[in-house]
């Protein structure tokens, strides 16, 4: 039981980190950024490239070295997110919603197969992998590195929530989500704030990518596809556009998968998970936290 809960929380933390970017972008410009999962993949490859380049000096696999790579990858994917928005999404922002959606799908393929051309189609093995001893807590196997990763994820989520609630640009972001036109008239730099949202969402996805690479040990150019869909699901469960909702949705999805596998077997996991989700959305069409908070970011 403890093991099931822990497994669910661990994978749920990854879903949540990626779901945050989905939810934030949707909250502000009502765009489903399908390339978001691929930014997770780019983060994993960025980390891979850096660790391969400086392989000798971080061979110890120390947490500090990985943290530095993590931050650099986050900066990299964050800036990539900004460029992506500038190049692909800003030109179609005033166009009908479906145009932007198709642009996002196109961006997703461009990133995936572009990566495949640059880095090759074969799965790569991370040069530095987290290893550590396992703890036994209430007959559950919990690895130290899992705790560290969940800790990093939680810290990032808290930092982001504080940023949205406490800073000037965070406030601007919330304002834009309510009425972008009015904000423009009030002298808010709408484009700048949207760029910030892409930067932060993409940086979080990149962080999840590096952590997945370092923990699971392998990266490939299609690794963002499934997690992108899962994170989107998590964002919808939580109430898309709602930041605590995305985190809650991610964890809930992870737990559902973990319990579904244990109760019905791996064959039935996705059936179980999505039946529960459909029931949940029938009862609460706006997601877990979609209604309670009127202000959506």
């Amino acid at each position: 039981m403890t093991q099931l809960i822990w497994n669910g929380i661990f994978i749920g933390a990854f879903y949540a980190l990626v779901a945050l970017g989905y939810s934030m972008v949707y909250g502000i410009i009502k765009l489903l950024n399908f390339a978001h999962g691929d930014i997770y993949m780019l983060g994993a490859f960025g980390g891979f490239a850096m660790l391969t380049a400086f392989g000798g000096s971080v061979a110890g696999g120390s947490i500090v070295a990985l943290l530095i790579v993590l931050v650099l990858s986050m900066l990299g994917t964050g800036m990539f997110g900004v460029v992506l928005e500038r190049v692909a999404y800003r030109p179609v922002r005033t166009a009908p919603r479906l145009n932007a959606l198709i642009t996002a799908v196109g961006a997703s393929f461009t990133i995936e197969y572009g990566t495949s051309l640059v880095a090759g189609p074969n799965p790569e093995v991370y040069p530095v992998q987290l290893s550590g001893s396992a703890l036994h807590v209430l007959d559950a196997h919990i690895n130290i590195q899992q705790i560290v990763l969940v800790g990093i994820a939680v810290a990032l989520m808290i930092a982001m929530n504080l940023w949205v609630l406490r800073t000037r640009s965070g406030r601007a972001m919330r304002a834009i989500s309510q009425d972008p036109k009015a904000c423009l008239y009030m002298g808010v730099n709408v484009d700048g704030v949207i760029s910030w949202a892409f930067f932060i969402g993409s940086a979080l996805a990149g962080a999840a990518g590096v952590m997945a690479g370092a923990y699971f040990g392998t990266v490939n150019f299609l690794m963002g596809f499934i997690i992108g869909l899962k994170a989107f699901t998590a964002a919808v469960i939580g109430g898309i556009g709602n930041i605590p909702g995305a985190v809650l949705g991610g964890i809930l999805l992870g737990l559902l998968e973990s319990f579904g596998t244990a109760w019905l077997g791996g064959q039935w996991r996705d059936v179980f998970t999505f039946v529960v989700l459909i029931l949940l959305l029938t009862v609460r069409p706006t997601g877990l936290l979609g209604e309670r908070v009127t202000e959506r970011v």
């Binding site: 099931l4 497994n7 919603r97 392998t218 244990a262 791996g266």
Partner: protein, 404 residues
């Protein structure tokens, strides 16, 4: 209310997108392959067929996607046979040509690739690695009257349809399951966990093993049958379910990428029993992904590779000279598929699909790497030729030839 409607339309849009995705994926996959046809050899896409002094052999293998590592091994193996046959005067006075398309180990991409080959007017298909991706190509080739000699894909589903033009020259799932059970019994396994990835190839083997175990109550017994979703990273939930069943032997029948992760996560979860993988997982990447320590002693059911064949060194040298790379899994089978195709065309004295199929059935004793060839009425090999490999250091080594 308004919000609900918006959400609804967003979800509907996602459905559209997923559907659109499928189409895009297949076209982009095959488009990429056309340009990456072959490495420094005379092959390539385009017209040809039986006319104009050349006979074109088609090949759908994964050049991108999760099994991309295998494609070049098979392509080079087939090209080597084509070069040798052409040097010896070709077939029916014509030169052979290889037309390789990317199947990406994906049903939709493979179907697109097969249609491309049909429009390229190939005479025989000598490709097929992932069973799940090869299945949808069967009616395409068979319907166009193009015989298929499938070198690697080996699910029983491929021959169960009893298509007149489809032949397998790899051992089948049934034969692999028999070899697996034989070795498990030898190792004294009691409780076996069967793990697959829900693809045709993979479930075919687990179901066969499960069926065989049910028939032999004093042998190894199934403790649990667990299926995973391919393409994910975290299999801890599945591993957890397996650990609960407390097996002393785990048999994974999917591909190497998930296999490596599962081996790693099983060992992390404290599993100390034996692990065996099926032929789709036999790749050095499996060991790298699992980590060398975790992978030590992992067994594999596998058909002959150049490295395991007695006296295979001469062939390896030839291959290396031609492509400046080491041969890998299924290089030999692809090489043999081309040779079998050439032999059948010679015997039939024709490039007509029906005549080639008849000639294939009449072949008796043609020497392949896996032994003398004689097709069964089901169009499979008479004997599977499976052996057991084991991970030693950073490579697979022969553990047991399973003779007798």
């Amino acid at each position: 209310m308004n919000l609900g409607i918006k959400l609804g339309s967003a979800v509907a849009a996602v459905g559209l997108v997923v559907a659109a995705l499928a189409g895009c994926a297949s076209s982009s996959g095959s488009g990429g392959a056309g340009s990456s046809s072959s490495s420094g050899s005379s092959s390539g896409g385009g017209s040809g067929g039986a006319s104009g002094g050349t006979i074109t052999l088609g090949m759908v293998v994964p050049l991108t996607g999760s099994s991309a590592a295998i494609g070049p091994y098979m392509q080079n193996g087939a090209q080597l046979a084509v070069n040798e046959i052409n040097a010896a005067g070709g077939v029916l006075g014509k030169q052979l040509k290889l037309d390789v398309q990317d199947g990406a180990c994906d049903a939709k991409s493979a179907a697109t690739a097969a249609n491309k080959l049909v429009s390229d007017k190939v005479t025989v298909s000598v490709g097929g690695y992932c069973s799940g991706a090869t299945l949808p190509t069967l009616p395409i080739f068979n319907g166009a009257g193009i015989p298929m000699i499938i070198p690697a894909a080996n699910s029983d589903d491929l021959v169960n349809q009893k298509l007149p033009l489809v032949f397998l020259i790899n051992g089948t799932g049934t034969q692999q399951a028999q070899a697996a059970l034989k070795f498990m019994t030898k190792e004294g396994a009691k409780k076996v966990a069967l793990m697959d990835d829900n693809t045709s190839y993979s479930t075919n083997i687990t179901k066969n093993v499960a069926g065989l175990m049910a028939k032999a109550p004093d042998g190894p017994q199934q403790a649990i049958h667990e299926s995973v979703t391919a393409g994910e990273s975290d299999y801890s939930a599945n591993v957890n379910a397996v650990m609960k069943a407390n097996p002393d032997f785990v048999y994974w029948t999917g591909y190497y990428q998930e296999g490596g992760l599962i081996i790693k996560q099983l060992r992390q979860a404290g599993y100390t029993g034996k692990i065996m993988v099926a032929d789709g997982s036999v790749d050095q990447k499996l060991i790298q992904i699992a980590g060398q320590n975790n992978a030590q002693g992992v067994f594999a059911t596998m058909t002959q590779t150049p490295q395991t064949i007695p006296n295979g060194q001469a062939w390896i040298d030839k291959y290396k000279k031609a492509f400046h790379a080491d041969p890998g899994p299924y290089s030999t089978q692809a090489y043999d598929a081309v040779r079998v195709a050439a032999e059948a065309m010679k015997n039939a004295n024709s490039t007509d699909g029906k005549a080639i199929a008849d000639a294939l059935m009449k072949i008796d004793g043609f020497q392949l790497f896996s032994g003398p060839l004689k097709f069964t009425p089901e169009h499979t090999l008479s004997s599977g030729g499976f052996l057991i490999l084991v991970v030693k250091g950073d490579a697979f080594d022969v553990q047991d030839q399973l003779q007798g």
